[in-house]
Point group: C2
Chain length 336, copies 2
């Protein structure tokens, strides 16, 4: 029988699963950014009526999934599976949100690459006919992430120029066999790449090599070039990491042709003082669910390669003077 594994790291989804609907919900800083009008919901604050930041982040996930189901005019029991993850310890935002739905659940952790990982596994669930409708979601919350990874914001600590600002939001996607556009055509699953970077305040530099590793595998596995895509979008390399990636791709003979963009480097208004740009699981999730999905629906983009990038450190590994291993998963979204 025909294999669906191509080259070293790539899989194809021959039934061309569809992303039929998306839903994005973001915080106010994200709403003030260039993609503000494209999100489904922009919150007036990051508290979201809750008593803790963590409860606020969970609510982002619950609302993103609930609203997505409603947008698709479905009921929760018509969803075969939910795949989700976030940055918080034991992915509590995803787990506690999943507890409010009667949907069979797969918990994932790929740091900021999680939505790409979820889209890949979700596409497999549909393509392999293990389900008919799957929801993929990923979230992050600036204040919850600061408290866990660095310091509570009340400390007023300084952030270096290479630091990034965790996006507050949740992006959710309904993947199904509806044969509508756009389709998830194929994906390249990342390997964990460790280049010896140690600075937790510069994740862009740590992640860029992983992004290059996966993108190069993608192009080589499929005998493609960057120019085969209208746009290549990484999640949160930020200004520092995206510049490094562009350089690495050029050196490898697969340079971008004015068709590369990083969500983290683009999601906030330049005046927001976010230093190297946005980060977090939500950077790519809301960027794609909101902004890029609308461009695809409007016919302005037909072939997009999403590359979610994750830095797989924890506060403890940094304290133990470890390196920062990273991963990048790439997903091809195309109008057929």
């Amino acid at each position: 029988m025909q294999t669906n594994h191509i080259g070293k790291q790539t899989v194809v989804f021959r039934s061309l699963p569809s992303i039929s609907h998306t839903f994005s919900i973001v915080g106010p800083k994200e709403g003030r950014g260039p993609w503000g009008p494209d999100y489904d919901t922009v919150l007036p604050d990051e508290v979201y009526g809750e008593q803790t930041w963590e409860k606020a982040e969970r609510k982002l996930v619950v609302e993103a999934v609930n609203n997505l189901i409603q947008k698709a005019k479905l009921q929760p029991d018509e969803i075969s599976f939910l795949l989700a993850g976030d940055l918080l310890n034991q992915i509590i935002s995803s787990n506690f949100a999943a507890a409010t739905f009667p949907i069979p659940f797969f918990g994932l952790f790929g740091a900021c690459s999680t939505i790409a990982e979820a889209l890949i596994l979700g596409a497999m669930l549909i393509d392999g006919r293990y389900g008919s409708r799957v929801i993929a979601a990923a979230s992050s919350h600036n204040k919850a992430a600061e408290r866990q990874f660095r310091f509570p914001i009340e400390f007023g600590t300084q952030r270096p120029p290479t630091a990034q600002w965790t996006v507050t939001g949740c992006g959710s996607f309904l993947i199904d066999d509806s044969a509508t556009n756009p389709r998830i055509t194929c994906a390249t699953v990342g390997r964990v790449v460790d280049m010896g970077c140690k600075d937790p305040n510069d994740m862009g530099s740590a992640m860029a090599p992983a992004a290059a590793d996966t993108l190069l595998a993608h192009f080589k596995d499929l005998a493609k070039q960057p120019a085969d895509y209208d746009l290549i979008v990484t999640g949160d390399l930020g200004k520092v990491g995206s510049a490094i990636l562009a350089e690495l791709m050029e050196e490898a003979g697969f340079g971008f042709v004015d068709n590369y963009l990083d969500c983290g480097a683009s999601i906030f208004h330049p005046d927001e003082d976010v230093h190297a740009g946005g980060s977090g699981c939500a950077a790519l999730a809301v960027g794609f669910a909101g902004h890029f999905f609308k461009l695809i629906q409007a016919g302005k983009l037909n072939k997009v390669l999403l590359a979610g990038t994750g830095a797989l450190l924890s506060p403890l590994t940094s304290l133990q003077n470890e390196n920062i291993p990273c991963i990048c998963h790439a997903v091809a979204i195309e109008v057929i």
Copy 2:
């Protein structure tokens, strides 16, 4: 085309992927337990020559995966995918272990249900022909878990009778299309179940309803009964949770017929004073990779239903007075 989704939560793997090899590595307490002779490696201590508990746990994963690949007489680049998870924040044991292999990687988090989740997704990757050989692994380490979830052991804190003892170990599985026995025939994906339990020192009570929820879905989806299996094995409900589960199943009309066992309640010698029993991702992972897999190979078990159970709390959610939502994934392992 024929669907592979059955009933509400169950998927079938029609090509019957094989578990061709396993590898289990455990700490000394586990080695002194009733399944001691069945593990591939029993360590003399939990330090494993490393400077921190976390580095020791990572080494468990590296060694389990390395040795599994060697046992199967393969090279790392012949493995299509690695799926793994653990209990530590940002699943660092799995991520850092994956960094030492050139294998495309999916990071998972299902607490102590993780190995079941990994076996399901791994079976899907093989059955859907997205890869030809997949490794599923899950680990835990008693000292690393104590430090993260409760207190460093140096504090000498007391443990209540309902508390469980995190298993130190890693179990790894090679899933492939070799058509050897045993096979992964089908699986039931769990929903997150929240029954309002709050006591982080009694996870068995919290998890038992989730186990019942998934097992009942499994039997109803497939029109089966517990008696259709030689053995039903839960991961770590412990003495408290397994008794509750047996009662819940009896009340639902699907009572066990002297064919139910919990790894946590069985993995340690009764004299070890582990209170309610073992817990952690490794409980089911090493129990199955070591003990039960050998029984299957010896022809003493032909149809086994593995049910990995996870409590999806974090130390922070307990501090915020939250409930403990739980999940259970069930995987059918059969000799055809």
